[in-house]
């Protein structure tokens, strides 16, 4: 069995996902980063973007994360986000509508949020 790391994906008001994984890819301010078991201790700032978690069962969990942090130590990875949603929870049509609306109102923050959601759904 391949080595595993424990992942906790938590949003400000709930725990979104937790479990064992073999690879986690997240987007930090200085670029995408992939964390595998045994990575050196890391603490980074996350950008809004999709986070991909390859679970030890071979499934892929995708989540849209809006700002936050990634911290890895002792084979435990924590993804802290103000807002985090699993791709399965995202309503693609609603996100599309939100994107249109944000574009027409030129609300940059809302547009980015909707865009991240859609990308997370697309990866799934």
């Amino acid at each position: 069995m391949a080595a595993e790391l424990h992942v906790e994906l938590v949003a400000a008001d709930r725990s979104v996902w937790s479990g064992e994984a073999t690879l986690v890819i997240a987007r930090t301010t200085s670029g995408d980063i992939g964390v595998m078991p045994g990575h050196q201790p890391l603490l980074g700032v996350l950008e809004s973007g999709p986070v991909t978690i390859r679970t030890s069962e071979g499934d892929t969990v995708v989540a849209a994360v809006h700002g936050g942090f990634i911290s890895f130590a002792d084979n435990k990875l924590s993804l802290l986000a103000e807002i985090a949603e699993l791709a399965d929870e995202i309503d693609a049509q609603r996100a599309e509508r939100a994107l249109e609306r944000a574009k027409s109102e030129s609300d940059a923050a809302a547009e980015r949020r909707a865009d991240v959601r859609l990308r997370a759904v697309a990866v799934r």
Partner: protein
């Protein structure tokens, strides 16, 4: 029906109606406590992880950050007071206000100016009535605070602490809220949020004594700290708001329970009085009848002679 008895009956009816209302409020508050407690529990993982991360950066690097360094001689402090929007919660809001007053006195004694930031209509009304200056206030979400509310509260506070004291910024940030200890105990607490004392933060996250690994910072320790500390403040404020909400519901429940009990007592003593009044009425009627009958009997006996 006698006048006395009618008055008692009417009072019993009105107290019974009040009792029904307070009973309903008690039950609503009880169900809300559970919900609020669940929210506190749900927000805990984020808070602990965040505290861990903050402790890790601050101990693992020698960065000086506006939010962690103590001013040499602090001249202005901000107090964030969390009260409720609505009353009927016993001494809940006034206890929190009292704690804030104490803290204000203490800080003034130390020669600091105090800026007041207030959450909840009760606190705003208290300060407004006394015509005290309130730097900023928020109302309308104390029963069910969301993370967005906490962010809205935190934003001006973080801005104030990042500003120079000479330009109207603050050196310290204190928070006064009611801590939810159990269903029966909620105590107002005053704690200093900023500048952050790292030892306390370590204690809170339960990482005291634990050796933290040497982290690799992405992009740099300063940037990580820059991004982490505001989030930390937000999450502490969010936690305080949630605890305050849970405490408020618990206080309401207790106040309404004692109101219901009092109403029950009142109904009991009023029904005793009503029964006595009814009995007195009956006794009086009987004695009137007996008296009337014997007077009649005396009269007929007299006419027979």
């Amino acid at each position: 029906m006698g006048a006395q008895l009618r008055v008692y009956k009417r009072r019993i009816k009105s107290v019974t109606a009040t009792k029904k209302i307070t009973k309903a409020m008690e039950m609503i508050a009880a169900s809300r406590i559970v919900k609020a407690q669940r929210q506190v529990a749900a927000s805990t993982p984020y808070a602990t992880e965040l505290t861990r991360a903050v402790t890790a950066v601050a101990t693992g690097s020698t960065t000086n950050h506006a939010l962690t360094t103590e001013a040499e001689n602090p001249t202005r402090a901000a107090i964030l007071l969390i009260t409720s929007d609505r009353g009927l919660a016993g001494g809940y809001s006034s206890n929190a206000i009292k704690a804030a007053e104490e803290l204000t006195e203490r800080l003034r004694g130390e020669g600091k100016e105090v800026d007041a930031y207030i959450v909840g209509r009760k606190g705003v009304a208290y300060y407004g009535f006394r015509e005290r200056k309130v730097t900023e206030s928020w109302t309308g979400f104390t029963d069910n605070p969301t993370y967005a509310d906490a962010k809205a509260v935190a934003a001006p506070l973080i801005a104030a602490i990042e500003k120079d004291t000479a330009e109207g910024g603050v050196d310290e940030l204190h928070i006064v809220f009611t801590e939810f200890i159990s269903m029966l105990t909620q105590t107002p607490v005053q704690s200093r949020l900023l500048p952050l004392s790292l030892e306390k933060a370590a204690e809170e996250s339960g990482t005291k004594g634990e050796i933290l690994p040497l982290f690799d910072f992405e992009p740099s320790a300063e940037d990580v700290l820059d991004a982490l500390l505001p989030r930390y403040v937000e999450s502490r404020i969010y936690n305080a708001l949630l605890q305050a909400a849970a405490s408020k519901h618990a206080a309401t429940r207790r106040a309404m329970k004692s109101a219901t009990d009092n109403a029950g007592e009142l109904i009991k003593s009023l029904s005793r009085l009503a029964n006595a009044a009814r009995q007195a009425e009956i006794t009086q009627e009987i004695s009137e009848i007996v008296g009337g009958a014997s007077a009649l009997a005396d009269a007929t006996a007299g006419s027979d002679k």
